[in-house]
Amino acid sequence: MSAKTGKRRRQKRYAMAMDPRQCVGCAACVLACKAENEVPEGAFRDWIVDEIRGRYPNLQREFRSERCHHCSNPPCVAACPTGASHVAEGGTVLVAQNKCTGCKACVVACPYGARYVHPKGYVDKCTFCAHRTARGQDPACVEICPTNALTFGDADDPQGSLGRLLASRAHRKLKEEAGCRPNLYILAKGGQ
């Protein structure tokens, strides 16, 4: 509800599209994230997957920049005994550091391995750079990407850059069978 007008505002659904056709796996996204969010040494909020399939010389290779899928049905939130893991603005899944006991129930519950325990004792993960998006900036990984492989936005806004991209390109999601309704879209290599 918007306090001012009293009208019901449509809920945003923050999501990210990742384009393996563009991605070269350089990991600029990983390092930009680490710098932006002071992610401790040896820990990652995002990472690169490099998959090679086939037999020489008939091979396929896919690069993906992966992170928390900010699921619409997040098992981590369900698993959290203290309410630290919660759903925030735009469906972004966040961890309230001060409520987190570091019990790791969420770490186990996450099908994507997106969470780690911060040396300060709480569990940490991708926030879609909520502090940046609140200011209208893209997440750090999106901003830095030299191949323009990442697009962040409201997946339910058909006029937005992400909505238009998803309408124009075929895509898939990872581990949908887990039933968690993830919000990272992997674009198909060839058009529709």
């Binding site: 070269v24 001060n98 502090h131």
Partner: protein, 743 residues
């Protein structure tokens, strides 16, 4: 996982403090607020534009600074080379700035050369010592007996120092060990080289052919951005590489070529274009010379001829040739960058250039373009004294078309008595010659002959260990530097400026060069009070806005037509004033006027050809000690074909597995450091591949020391390009052994 009550209380207490200090928000029963998400606050109080030096592309960056510390580095949206985006290295400048292993004090050698034993010294004492050495050499042998090896933008101050001092011997390994053959090959054909940033229009190309060029792993920011844009627009990619590289995985046609046979493939492509009349006839008629000779030369170089030589099926050669022809003139045969592979490199580049000419892509949109730069007057000062002394690299043997000094040639001139004259002193700036020149044993032999060796460096790399005096330079984030006004489709002037004060006792290059200049009696050449004042003067003389440059980090100039489509008239600065498909100058010098294929040496039985390359997060051995960058790539690995790995002697019972450590033994019996295997389908079975820059032996590099293996240690042989003196380094063969057995 169990949380002790003590830990639990500690966390809760922290939460309480945050809540109280933050907002005084209402707390619930267990003493913490309802959901506090803290975000790291890395945005700077100050954001300072400058340009990067993690590699040599020099992207514009914005350095965020908070409480005197650089918190993060992002792309400068106003800078044409970064457009607000960066490669991983660009982000990693902080890993260099805050590297605990940095050189902190000037060092003077104690003990024998190479013993790596030093005492710290004051700048005065160290500079006096360097000046003393250089003055003694000048007095005894003349200034030409002192050579400068340099790499990186900061080298400009030391090149100025050497030109003022009177030595013509200034070399960068980026020529004879890297780009040299490329520049010579295009110059011979079109009358000019492609320079850096390469004068190509990748983003508008509809077909891009990469020959042994692993763009995406070789991560020059703008190049990769342009490639990505072209892919986004539907451009076709043709990739020639023995390895299924990142680029190959995006290609319409991957040609897994037998290493060293590129010229055969190129001639076959030329054959298809001519035989099937798919080349640009009007362009060829108008601009080229020697088409009839070329046609006759390739008449029998059919795809069927090339098949047994290259391993590429004739139909794949034909189909890829047709794809590149269909896109012409926006069909870019990418010139690549590192080109010193087999010693026939200038000829290979010539074949690439000839192919480009047939596609009509030189001077055309989506092909090679002819950009301009912004004029920038020099800082006022005396003219360098004219010197008639030839460069020492020419003495040892003659490379008639070398248009820059050969670093390897200067190394030779230091060793061999056949040199035109002997070199007695070296200054080495920003290049770790132990890793960057082939055959380190030879480099060390040269060093041992020297009277004097001074190294200007940021990190205690191997070459610093051999120095008589080590001068610690500060990083690019701690210094002002010269201005940069490259030839680029969007002309610009970029500025590097100090973000934080130099740490420890390190000093900027401009200061070091000036203080040495004063001591060498060259004060007139170093009249600038600081690099900032020097830049200000040049900018003012050029009539530009200095304050805007400081604020934005970059000034944009007027664009000029860069291709025929934009109204540019083409001219060629060759002997015939035409594109030379047939090269009379090469013929006169006794070289093939049209490239000939000469089969490479086969790997001896049981051995693999050793190939090396890059990873996006690192620039050779320069960054492998960078702990931040190493978060994503910390150690190199040996790519080896899975089927070939099963046949390696010694691995019959227990096949080699990914992650297992092996050592390599080359044809001269030299052993590598242990390296982890990456057993994969994604490489041919006749070669192995590793990323260059690992296997550091310098103990001062506490992170990189002992990590991975050095390819250059295995490069005990190299094949010199007779045309320009480049050192082809892909001519070594290795056997793979278990790490334990070799130890």
């Amino acid at each position: 996982m169990s949380v002790s009550r003590r830990q639990f209380l500690k966390i809760s207490a922290g939460g309480t403090a945050a809540a109280t200090l933050g907002s005084g928000a209402v707390s619930n029963w267990w003493g913490i607020d309802s959901g506090h998400v803290a975000h790291a606050d890395t945005d700077g109080d100050q954001v300072i534009p400058t340009f990067c030096e993690l590699c040599f592309w020099k992207c514009g960056v914005l350095a965020h600074k908070k409480n005197g510390r650089v918190t993060k580095i992002v792309g400068n949206p106003k800078h044409p080379l970064s457009r607000g985006r960066l490669c991983p290295r660009g982000t990693g400048g902080t890993g260099l700035l805050y590297d605990p292993d940095r050189l902190k004090q000037p060092l003077i050698r104690q003990g024998s050369r190479g013993s790596d034993r030093f005492v710290t010294a004051s700048w005065d004492a160290a500079l006096d010592r360097v000046a003393e050495g250089m003055l003694a050499i000048r007095k005894k042998h003349g200034p030409e007996a002192m050579a400068l090896f340099t790499h990186g933008f900061g080298g400009s101050w030391f090149k100025h120092l050497f030109k003022s001092y009177g030595s013509p011997n200034i070399a960068a390994p980026s020529y004879a060990q890297c780009r040299g053959p490329r520049e010579v090959g295009y110059s011979l054909t079109f009358g000019q080289g492609v320079g850096s940033p390469e004068a190509i229009d990748t983003e508008n190309a509809r077909c891009i052919t990469l020959i042994g060029n692993h763009l995406g792993e070789n991560m020059h920011n703008t190049t990769v951005q342009d490639l990505a844009r072209a892919i986004e627009r539907g451009a076709d990619l043709i990739v020639v590489d023995p390895r299924f590289s990142v680029a190959a995985s995006k290609a319409k046609y991957w040609l897994p070529i037998k290493p060293g046979t590129d010229i055969a493939l190129l001639l076959a492509w030329i054959n298809v274009l001519i035989e099937e009349e798919r080349y640009d006839k009007s362009y060829v008629d108008k601009h080229t010379k020697g088409f009839a000779e070329l046609k006759a030369h390739v008449a029998d170089k059919t795809p069927d001829w090339a098949y047994p030589l290259t391993g590429i099926e004739p139909e794949l050669i034909r189909r890829s040739a047709r794809a590149m022809a269909a896109a012409r003139p926006a069909s870019l045969i990418h010139p690549g960058r590192h080109a010193t592979w087999y010693g026939d490199d200038t000829q290979r580049v010539r074949a690439m250039a000839i192919l480009s000419a047939l596609l009509g892509s030189w001077g055309r949109r989506g092909g090679f373009i002819l950009p301009s730069n912004m004029s920038l007057p020099p800082y006022p000062g005396p003219k360098y004294a004219h010197t008639d002394t030839a460069r020492a690299d020419r003495g040892a043997s003659s490379y008639p078309l070398a248009d820059e000094t050969l670093a390897s040639g200067l190394c030779d001139a230091t060793i061999t008595p056949q040199a035109a004259y002997d070199l007695h002193g070296w200054m080495v700036y920003g290049t770790n010659l132990i890793q960057s020149l082939p055959d380190a044993r030879r480099t060390i032999k040269a060093i041992q002959k020297l009277d004097f060796l001074v190294v200007v460096e940021v990190l205690p790399v191997e070459i610093a260990g051999w120095a008589d005096v080590v001068l610690p330079e500060c990083t690019y984030l701690e210094r002002d530097d010269d201005l940069w006004n490259p030839y680029y489709k969007q002309p610009f002037i970029a500025m590097r400026q100090e973000v934080v004060r130099p740490m420890y006792a390190s000093k900027p290059g401009w200061w070091i060069a000036r203080e040495l200049g004063k001591r060498l009696g060259l004060a007139d050449f170093f009249a600038y009070p600081s690099a900032a004042e020097y830049s200000k003067k040049r900018i003012e003389l050029g009539g530009y806005d200095y304050d805007k440059l400081r604020r934005d980090g970059v000034l944009l100039g007027k664009t000029t037509p860069v291709c025929e489509e934009e109204g540019l008239g083409l001219s060629f600065d060759t002997e015939s004033k035409k594109i030379e498909l047939y090269s009379e100058p090469l013929k006169k010098l006794g070289f093939h006027p049209i490239p000939e294929f000469v089969p490479p040496q086969e790997p001896p039985f049981g051995m693999f050809r050793l190939l090396f390359g890059r990873t996006p997060a690192h620039t050779f051995g320069r960054t492998t000690n960078n702990r931040f960058l190493s978060e994503v790539y910390a150690e190199n690995e040996l790519w080896i074909n899975a089927d070939a790995a099963r046949r390696i002697p010694g691995f019959e019972d227990e096949p080699l597995k990914t992650g297992q450590r092996v050592v390599l033994v080359n044809q001269d019996g030299v052993k590598s450091q242990p390296i982890r295997a990456r057993v994969t389908q994604a490489i041919r079975g006749d070669c192995v591949y590793m990323v260059h820059g690992y296997g550091h032996t310098a103990k001062g590099l506490r992170f990189a020391h002992g990590r991975g293996a050095a390819d250059n240690r295995m490069v005990t042989r190299f094949k010199v390009d007779p045309i320009m003196g480049g050192t082809g380094m892909n001519v070594n063969f290795v056997r793979v052994e278990k790490a334990e057995a070799a130890a």
